[in-house]
Symmetry: C2
Subunit: 155 residues, 2 copies
């Protein structure tokens, strides 16, 4: 899992603390967390494509949440960056070699692939259970204003 996953989780949390209608540019966010600006910008695009963020170009442009923070889950962000595919891929080796099963016996999906898919679903459910609003609720009440203040002064 790339390091940019952490970057975007934090950036989305930061954007969720801005006043509605306010945007933050990629350069601002990069400076806020001391990250390589070019690469961060590229990853932010993935979140725009996924529909979690919205972007406006031109001067005073930047990124903002595309939906209320309560409707953006950690899963939305993680899958936008890392892809939604399961890491385990069943290649049906049970149908190959000396021990090959007949096609008829393979009508139902492989038990092992099924269990791996179950685990992946458990992982997804866990991440989908937390929204950005939930994350903000755990921060001290003074956090949003400080974030806005520190963000405003950046380039």
């Amino acid at each position: 899992m790339p390091v940019s996953t952490e970057w975007l989780l934090h950036c989305a949390t930061t954007l969720a603390q801005l006043d509605p209608g306010t945007t933050a540019s990629a350069a601002q966010l990069a400076q806020y967390y001391d990250l390589p600006a070019a690469y961060l910008a590229k990853q932010l695009q993935a979140l725009v494509r996924s529909g979690a963020l919205a972007a406006t170009t031109g001067p005073r442009g930047g990124f903002r949440l595309a939906r209320p923070a309560s409707e953006i889950t950690l899963l939305d962000i993680v899958e936008a960056v890392d892809g939604a595919a399961s890491p385990y891929e069943c290649r049906e080796i049970r149908q190959q070699g000396r021990g090959a099963l007949s096609p008829e016996e393979c009508r139902n999906t492989c038990v092992l692939a099924e269990k791996m898919a179950d685990a992946h679903e458990a992982w997804r459910r866990s991440l989908a259970a937390t929204s950005l609003a939930d994350v903000l609720a755990t921060l001290p009440p003074s956090a949003p204003e400080r974030t806005r203040r520190r963000m405003a002064g950046a380039t």
Copy 2:
């Protein structure tokens, strides 16, 4: 996640169907699933190191389960191949850059890292809930004997 994960899940399931005390060599298993023998042997070693399999060298040697099938979970196998580390790694970027939090504010772990760890734990729990014995229980009753028969004739 490497393709060898699938290989070893299936190989372990196969070994679980052998009579106690019987071993299967890497060459036999490779032939059984039509896999590159040398590379499979390398991956089987990881399972030996993790303690899930036991190996005996010399003529008539090979691999066998190191414990009863009911005490080997899918998680044991997956983590032996793919490593036990969580794919998400918190690098504490909240302490860097313009928005850096004070060390005192970082006494408790980052909320995002916590949620990601929770998801990983959910994934592990799901895999740990299934043992090789559970997998065998889903197969038709005739499966183990056929597996032994087809395995016996191999090189």
